[in-house]
Symmetry: C2
Subunit: 216 residues, 2 copies
DNA sequence: GTCTATAATCTGATAGAC
DNA sequence: GTCTATCAGATTATAGAC
């Protein structure tokens, strides 16, 4: 009868934890929910349930749904930029010659690895697709251009190289959004496209998609 | 005092027109609205206003909002497939040699030209991003794979060629969604990216975006 | 720090008149 | 063929208790 009946997946009695930590939990939940259903498609109640708290508390913590979404997107962008910069830094030492994979390939791999937090990639994509909104749209444009400038000014790529890189990223996001990894092996075209689009990273993608089948 | 005061942009007295024609008007309006705001973000009332009729009539005509969206997406996919097949057919005659642009370039150009009905490209993209939905998601997956198979089986491209083609398409859709064409000349990075991404088709894109500025 | 209750919309859909 | 009226349900946000 105490509050310690940890069998159910969802909390019966919510623990009292520091606001800062709760904030992170909400953001993590929101990232998943917004990533799946988009800004308008997601409800603050869905976020609340995913975080195991009440709906009003979500709103109380972030003021408005829009604020929450903007924070999620800002975090996602930040994570992406940081990941790229780390990859850039790691690459510098062995810069000359063709010792290993070219930088662009490493960045692509780093991008794909972000899939283990689907929310990051999908929330960003959802922000892009909400470009019509005055507030969200402005942030989306800003964010996209920020990535472009980083690839150009910090990584030193040509516009053409960046274009191809971004294009592959958008394709990757789209395949994730339509959940192609979920119908792997169901459809020969789906499998062929995935093998080609995800290259050596197919296993990473499939793992992250919570697939429940064994290797044949 | 009669119903013929054609100065306002929106109808005051709705004309009585054939259902089939009205249906087309609604679909055209819905394509624009859904393309901008997405499935959840758009309301049947917004569609109704864009079509110049009442909200209940929109619902009456298509049963449900979901049905209307599915019809919009099916039409968009159809238009895309048809456009590609026409491009394929036109190419056949002068197939051998490098007489003009390679087929893939022509297909790319045909895709960009679809921008004069933004709704087509954006509605499709909105469908892709709504992949989590059981019904819409299924159609989105199907549609995407249909395009892939066409490019492979009818156009004869390799998976790698198709991947790059689709990737550029997704980038194009994304740039459209974040309305990059609207801030052309406002931001040097935006302009550089657009020139690179849209190649020779920049003017077509800018024209279609209802830009209101004169060439410098 | 977190909840319950609830106000205030908004929105999809139905009924029925003209 | 099209509208007005309207209901039912969903959803963001606020108030206030604990």
């Amino acid at each position: 009868m105490s509050e310690d009946s940890g069998t159910a997946a969802k909390e019966t009695t919510t623990e009292r934890i520091p606001a800062a930590l709760r904030r992170e939990q909400i953001l993590a939940a929101a990232s998943r929910v917004f990533g799946e259903r988009g800004y308008s498609g997601a409800t603050t109640d869905q976020v609340a349930q995913a975080a195991g708290i009440s709906q009003p508390y979500v709103v109380r913590m972030f003021g408005t749904k829009e604020n929450l979404f903007l924070e999620v997107v800002a975090r996602a962008l930040d994570k992406l930029m940081t990941t790229f910069r780390e990859t850039l830094a790691e690459h510098r030492p062995a810069d000359d010659g063709d010792d290993a994979d070219p930088l662009i390939t490493r960045l692509g791999a780093a991008y794909v690895d972000l899939i283990d937090d689907r929310g990051i990639l999908l929330s960003l994509m959802q922000a892009f697709i909400t470009g019509h909104d005055p507030v969200i749209g402005a942030k989306a444009r800003e964010g996209f251009l920020q990535i472009y400038r980083m690839l150009r000014d910090e990584a030193g790529f040509s516009p053409e190289t960046i274009r191809d890189f971004l294009a592959n990223g958008m394709l990757f996001n789209t395949l994730l959004a339509i959940r192609l990894p979920d119908i792997f092996e169901d459809d020969e075209a789906a499998e062929e496209l995935m093998r080609c689009a995800f290259r050596g990273k197919l296993d990473v993608v499939l793992d992250a998609s919570g697939a429940t089948w064994t290797r044949s």
